[in-house]
């Protein structure tokens, strides 16, 4: 028999809607999973079981009253801890915000409540979303459910691990340079970064405003599409939020990809790629060809500068976005005889080393006399990259690439080498810098049994074709999600 926690979001929603099970049953099943797993992987930072049960009972009450609580009625959803949630901690994985409770909901959180979702809790992350392994969390790393010696990736590592281990069927993450897709790939699940502007950032604690997007993590493509549909759409509180109507994702019907053109950007298959990753992604490409897609090689030469551009633009914006954590209002406050002393001790104690490194980088890149050489130059290259990306995606419908150069690395392996850690984002930053949508899907395992991710990218607002190709691949590969083995007691 399939356990409730093993079911996907759509099936749970259906069971609850038809009253075969109650929302409370579903909540209890997942709370039990949290209880047996969280100590082993540290996916959640905060879970309030009483509150979870209250929300589930409220959904049941609405059903009994004949109301329709929405498309996610009773479905548990986890939130990355940088999404403002009324009455709950929103720490961003930082000492700085350890005691901060938001008094209001992020736009996506309001949308989830309106859709009837049960909010399970807040998940671990690299501090202020800066990192690729969730090891930069001030509250300790999250472990990969498939091998607890290894990282989940990051920065949305807690969300990815929670979905992979069956603690929730759905989670939200944020993706600035790959922070949804890379942990999704490391944890063998689906993770999607929408087009910049498709999902309102209101209430997402900013890391790099021009790159940040909120997106879904799920165990299959259709669940990810369902969650994206709930959170997408215009929000007047975010000036960068698009007024376009949200495309209808997964209309169903044909799985044939006849006439769909898939580009293989050669730059994404460099020497740095692990042979197993190359082979597995190659097999995925063959599967798509079998579905009738036309495969052709394309070139995006400017993407080679992606990491350089990203590590100027993102820290620059971050240095300004994080200036508000000054000890004056809601943050940790250090001692000091003067205001300046208080700033220095608050920020010195509140921020971890990676956050400080990036604030320093960004402050330098924006400083007078260096602006043109760094930030100004990076923006020019970024504009050129974007133009190149748009030119290439006029000729092909989607681009196919690996999500990461390797499978999940070992905890601690790259902590002493920031540059090696940064290079982990080499294949994912392009979509952020170009504002384009991208999805990571599981496409196989390494000889060690570690998941490998396939990345698809589409032109801006190309979510419809992106999900269509992803769903077709998923069906063709017929790979059922396999949960990690239970942790030994």
């Amino acid at each position: 028999m399939t356990e409730l926690w093993q079911r996907d979001a759509r099936s749970l929603a259906e069971l609850i809607r038809t009253r075969e099970v109650t929302a409370l049953d579903v909540a209890e099943a997942h709370l039990e999973r949290v209880l047996s797993w969280n100590d082993h992987i540290e996916a959640f930072l905060h879970v309030e079981p009483a509150q979870v049960r209250r929300e589930a009972r409220e959904i049941d009450r609405l059903f009994e009253a004949g109301a329709d609580p929405g498309p996610l009625a009773g479905v548990p959803v986890a939130l990355k801890d940088n999404l403002s949630t009324r009455g709950a901690p929103t720490t961003c994985g930082s000492r700085m915000l350890e005691t901060y409770n938001a008094s209001w909901d992020a736009h996506v959180v309001s949308r989830l409540r309106e859709a009837g979702a049960v909010l399970m809790g807040k998940t671990n992350m690299d501090e202020f979303a800066m990192g690729s392994s969730t090891e930069n969390s001030a509250f300790g790393p999250t472990c990969n459910p498939f091998d607890r010696e290894r990282t989940t990736g990051g920065s949305s590592g807690g969300s990815a691990a929670a979905v992979a281990a069956g603690l929730v069927p759905l989670a939200l993450g944020s993706d600035t340079g790959g922070s949804i897709r890379q942990p999704a790939a490391f944890c063998g699940i689906v993770g999607m970064k929408p087009t910049y502007g498709l999902v309102s950032r209101y209430g997402l604690v900013a890391f790099a405003s021009s790159l940040d997007q909120i997106g879904p993590l799920a165990r299959n493509v259709a669940d990810a599409a369902l969650l994206l549909t709930v959170i997408a759409g215009h929000d007047p509180r975010d000036a960068t939020s698009s007024v376009r109507s949200v495309p209808e994702l997964l209309k169903g019907g044909t799985e044939s990809l006849r006439g769909v053109r898939i580009g293989i950007p050669t730059e994404f298959f460099d020497e740095g790629l692990a042979p197993e990753v190359r082979a597995t992604v190659g097999a995925a490409q063959a599967a798509l060809a079998r579905l009738g897609a036309e495969i052709e090689e394309v070139s995006l030469p400017l993407t080679r500068h992606g990491i350089a551009v990203y590590y100027i633009v993102a820290p620059s914006e971050a240095s300004s976005n994080l200036a508000r954590y000054d000890g004056v209002r809601y943050t940790l406050r250090g001692e000091g005889r003067s205001v300046l002393d208080m700033y220095v001790s608050s920020r010195g104690e509140g921020f971890g080393p990676e956050v400080k490194r990036r604030i320093l980088l960004g402050t330098f890149a924006l400083s007078s006399g260096y602006y043109d050489a760094y930030y100004g130059h990076a923006q020019k290259v970024r504009a050129a990259m974007r133009a190149e990306f748009e030119r290439v995606t006029e000729k092909v419908d989607v681009l196919l690439a690996p999500t990461t150069p390797t499978v999940a690395f070992r905890l601690g392996e790259k902590m002493q080498d920031p540059l090696a850690m940064y290079l982990n984002d080499a294949l994912t930053v392009t979509a952020n810098l170009c504002g384009a949508p991208a999805i990571s899907l599981p496409c196989g395992r390494s000889s060690d049994g570690l998941p490998i991710g396939l990345q698809l990218m589409a032109p801006r607002f190309g979510e419809e074709i992106l999900f269509r190709v992803a769903a077709a691949y998923e069906a063709e590969a017929a790979r059922k999600f396999a949960f990690p083995p239970e942790p030994s007691k």
């Binding site: 992020a106 950032r201 508000r324 809601y330 924006l366 400083s367 930030y375």
Partner: protein
């Protein structure tokens, strides 16, 4: 033999020739309903931190959305000042740490301001002169830090944080204290005409920082430029003039002490001290911040399309200089009267409506001071005095027709009109002032009585009120007892006080 050297020439220091260069930066709070980037109300005097929300408190995850109305007000001002309007404008972040700056940066505009260039015409005793402008841009105000004298406590009030500001920067075309005052007066009149700001310097919704330096004619025809000094804390039109005067004196003294080496100094910021009427050093250029400006990523660049331009243009009424010229032309006012009437838009509006309702232009213009005095006393705007332009015109016409003396109209009728809302004819009747109706006669009789009794007149003027009795008797006799004694008394008093040689 030793030659005694000739005595040194008596050194009467010749004051150097110099030019004063003043550029003025003005920050103007716009009178929008809500703040620049959130929906909190813009209001003065509410309890601390009550007009705030996640956006203006700089809470994590809050985002700014530009206020369209503020953009339109700024565009209207830029249009009125003939700035070149940006087709594409954008916001930038100005980064610095301060407790009353909740985000750690101020959203401002750096390289694509809403308006560039432009001009403001000022009026001084020498006539009208254009002052060129550098730019106009939008930014947000900071909160306020309140430092308590006792204890090491500082408090922050963020009610003001995020209030829309327009910054207007002039070229250094201003050459004197009088011109600096005239510039502020003209700019204030402009924003009041546009109805976009109260322009009140005491309340801080118009703040100005003059940048002052001198070009001194040095030895051998060289020009010595004193370092530019920016003066802060200037809180009235008068004090702008003081700041300029004090800086000119100070910079001249510095030149006298240092000679041409004065030009090697650095820019500095000084504060104006109202109490002691002096300026003091606040900081030198070396301490200047690096604001690390960069484009605000939370707000996409804004294209100023034709719809915006049309809406902004619709907000621009006839401006003071055009109106002055028209009043001279159309109503035959003197330049002086036209300037007085046109300084404030409500005055000019009221005047023009009264003239349209039949009041003579010249007398109506003379009345405007009286009306504004009442408005000030009551703290009410001109159009809420209870006397509209039509009823006011009726009163002016009665005076013109000789039905009532100007002084009586001003002292008795106008105040009563404001209090009771009665028509002027009615009040004149009730007070018996109307009997002067037939009274070219009454007035000449009164004048005759005074002429015939210079002693009684002198006694009255000397304070002997009973001396009036003799004069009244004469008038009553002359008019056959028909005149209202109250009126006769009033007329006599009026003539006696008016023609008092002592006054």
């Amino acid at each position: 033999m030793t030659a005694t050297p000739p005595p040194p020439p008596a050194s009467t220091p010749v004051p150097p020739k110099y030019r004063v260069l003043v550029g003025i930066e003005v920050h103007l709070q716009l009178r929008t309903r809500s703040k620049m980037f959130c929906r909190c109300p813009v209001r003065f005097g509410s309890p601390p931190n009550t007009l705030t929300c996640p956006v203006c408190l700089g809470m994590p995850g809050a985002l700014p959305v530009p206020n369209r109305d503020a953009m339109l007000m700024a565009l209207a001002l830029a249009t009125a000042m003939q700035c070149e309007l940006a087709e594409l404008t954008k916001f930038d972040r100005k980064n610095y740490f301060y407790p009353d700056l909740p985000k750690g940066y101020q959203i401002s505009q750096l390289d694509r301001p809403l308006g560039s260039g432009g001009v403001i015409e000022i009026i001084t005793e020498d006539g009208v002169r254009p002052i060129r402008l550098q730019r106009l841009h939008i930014e947000e105000d900071t909160g306020k830090s309140l430092h308590e004298d006792a204890g090491n406590v500082s408090r922050v009030d963020l009610n003001r944080a995020g209030t829309p500001l327009v910054e207007v920067v002039s070229e250094p075309d201003i050459t004197s204290a009088a011109e600096a005052r005239a510039y502020l007066t003209a700019l204030r009149a402009l924003v009041r005409y546009l109805d976009i700001s109260d322009g009140n310097m005491q309340e801080g919704n118009l703040r100005c920082e003059p940048n002052i330096n001198l070009h001194i004619e040095g030895p051998g025809g060289t020009t010595i430029k004193t370092p530019i000094v920016e003066v802060k804390n200037v809180n009235s039109v008068r004090n702008v003039g003081r700041a300029v005067t004090l800086e000119v004196e100070r910079q001249l003294a510095e030149y006298a002490a240092l000679g041409p080496a004065v030009a090697d100094g650095h820019r500095s910021t000084r504060g104006y001290d109202d109490t002691h009427d002096r300026t003091f050093l606040m900081r030198r250029k070396e301490d200047a911040h690096d604001y690390r400006y960069f484009p605000e990523p939370d707000i996409p660049p804004i294209t100023i399309g034709s719809a915006w331009l049309r809406e902004a243009a619709e907000r621009v009424p006839e401006l003071p200089h055009a109106r002055r010229a028209r009043f001279v032309e159309e109503y035959g006012l003197s330049d002086y009267d036209a300037d007085q009437v046109c300084r404030e838009r409500p005055t000019a509006d009221f005047f023009e409506q009264a003239v349209k309702a039949g009041a003579g232009a010249k007398p109506a213009a003379n009345w405007m001071d009286e009306l504004n005095r009442h408005a000030n006393e009551r703290g009410a705007p001109l159009d809420q005095l209870g006397v509209g332009p039509e009823r006011f015109a009726a009163l002016v016409k009665m005076v013109e027709a000789g039905k009532i003396a100007h002084k009586a109209a001003a002292r008795e009728v106008l105040p009563r009109m404001m209090e009771t809302g009665e028509e002027p004819e009615q009040i004149v009747d009730e007070l018996g002032l109307g009997q002067i109706d037939d009274s070219a006669l009454l007035w000449s009789a009164a004048q005759d009585a005074i002429d015939q009794n210079p002693k009684a007149a002198a006694d009255f003027r000397a304070g002997k009120e009973q001396a009036l009795g003799a004069l009244m008797g004469l008038v009553m006799r002359e008019t056959g007892g028909k005149a209202n004694p109250k009126v006769v008394r009033r007329v006599l008093v009026e003539i006696l006080t008016e023609s008092d040689p002592e006054n």
